[in-house]
């Protein structure tokens, strides 16, 4: 029962951070395609973030509709076509604001936590 609640809480918490993680990876490694975003997300987070492929593409399409990222189809070595994403100016500005928010959330939680389970 407790594990069920933790599982659900974990899902809720993480899914909020997936968008931030995607924006960060696109900013750092873009232009980049969905499959590699997911791979980098898993690798760089040490497995903490492990969204499904469909989650990544759904979030990318949401970000694209909101003009945070833009996409184009490109051909890579080996003749494989892939859809690449890069951050827009709007996405860049939003990312700066979101990162400030994330920092303030962690600071607020740290203040509330104090020495509990320290």
């Amino acid at each position: 029962m407790v594990f069920e609640v933790v599982k659900r809480l974990r899902y809720t918490l993480l899914s909020g951070f997936y968008l931030v993680a995607i924006l960060l990876i696109v900013k750092r490694f873009g232009p980049i395609y969905g499959y590699r975003i997911r791979k980098l997300m898993i690798d760089l987070s040490g497995g903490v973030f492990s969204p499904s492929e469909s989650t990544i593409y759904t979030l990318l399409h949401i970000l694209e509709k909101k003009n945070m990222v833009e996409s184009y189809w490109g051909l890579v070595e080996g003749g494989v076509p892939r859809k690449f994403y890069r951050l827009t100016k709007k996405g860049d500005t939003a990312l700066v604001e979101v990162l400030k928010l994330v920092d303030s959330i962690f600071m607020a939680l740290g203040n509330m936590r104090g020495d509990v389970y320290g």
């Binding site: 499959y35 590699r36 184009y72 189809w73 490109g74 051909l75 890579v76 080996g78 076509p81």
Partner: protein, 277 residues
């Protein structure tokens, strides 16, 4: 009359079966090409998608043939023909939309480089032409709903070369099958165009892709126009008793075929393009 319906439905089912078997056992094993298989732009982008779409289309075609055979044991009316046509249209629509949904995931998984070396052009589709096609369809449906009550219970729906009716149908059967096939055709072409929109186009398939978009956009307008002509012809014969001379039918059909051929070959010899660079 029942035998004719069975013959038409079996013929459609047989086409599904033969095309399906060719897709499974031949086309799916070929490289993406413009001469054999389920040839939509998304399938040209990867061998894996090409093989999967062709295998799936073959399986669905074979299943549809079996369903038509089973249904024919219980239904021997025009509705069997309507089912055969609509289900075939539905398979084409579903496969087209499915290909659009998997294309990004599958190309992402393919082995290859991580950085773009070339930007690919994408296929654009005219929204205004789709809208025009649907406006004409709505006008056609309005004409049908207004004129339907004036029609007699039994309609002459086919005529010989001298303009004498040689095939009759009940009014409700005619209207239901007419509307469902018109709407089915429109939905099929619209969904295929939707699946093609913004798809990347590889150089070797550029002319074919342009030709396909060109034809489909035209078909979307021709379907409701042709059906409006057919409906008006049948209305005029059955209500005021005016029979359109066969020569006009021939001219209309020849004009449509000519325009379709011109639109099909146009991208091969014109520089004007529907591919966005």
């Amino acid at each position: 009359m029942d035998k004719m319906y069975l013959f038409v439905a079996y013929s459609i089912g047989l086409i599904d079966l033969v095309a399906g078997l060719i897709c499974i056992f031949r086309a799916s094993k070929l490289k993406p090409n413009t001469y054999l298989g389920f040839r939509i732009p998304a399938a040209f982008l990867s061998q894996k998608i090409w093989s999967r779409i062709n295998t799936l289309s073959g399986i669905l075609g074979t299943i549809n043939f079996t369903v038509i055979i089973i249904l024919s044991l219980f239904i021997q009316s025009i509705y069997l023909v309507v089912y055969a046509i609509l289900s075939t249209m539905l398979i084409i629509s579903a496969l087209s939309i499915y290909s659009k949904r998997i294309i990004e995931i599958e190309t992402g998984r393919e082995m290859g480089g991580e950085h773009p070396v070339e930007v690919l052009p994408t296929i654009s589709v005219s929204k205004s032409r789709i809208l025009l096609g649907w406006v004409i369809t709505i006008v056609l449906l309005a004409i049908i709903s207004v004129a339907m009550s004036q029609m007699p219970d039994t309609l002459a729906v086919h005529f010989d070369a001298r303009g004498h009716p040689n095939f009759f149908m009940r009014r409700d059967e005619y209207i239901i099958s007419f509307i469902s096939i018109t709407l089915g055709g429109m939905i099929m072409v619209t969904s295929v165009l939707y699946s093609i929109k913004d798809m990347p186009s590889l150089k070797e398939f550029e002319a074919y892709n342009r030709s396909l978009v060109s034809i489909l956009q035209l078909v979307l307008i021709i379907i409701p126009l042709l059906y409006t002509y057919v409906y008006i012809t049948i209305y005029l014969h059955n209500v005021p008793g005016i029979t359109i001379p066969i020569i006009i039918d021939v001219v209309v059909v020849l004009a449509i075929i000519t325009v379709l051929i011109l639109f099909a070959i146009r991208p091969y010899w014109l520089r004007k393009t529907s591919i966005k660079k």
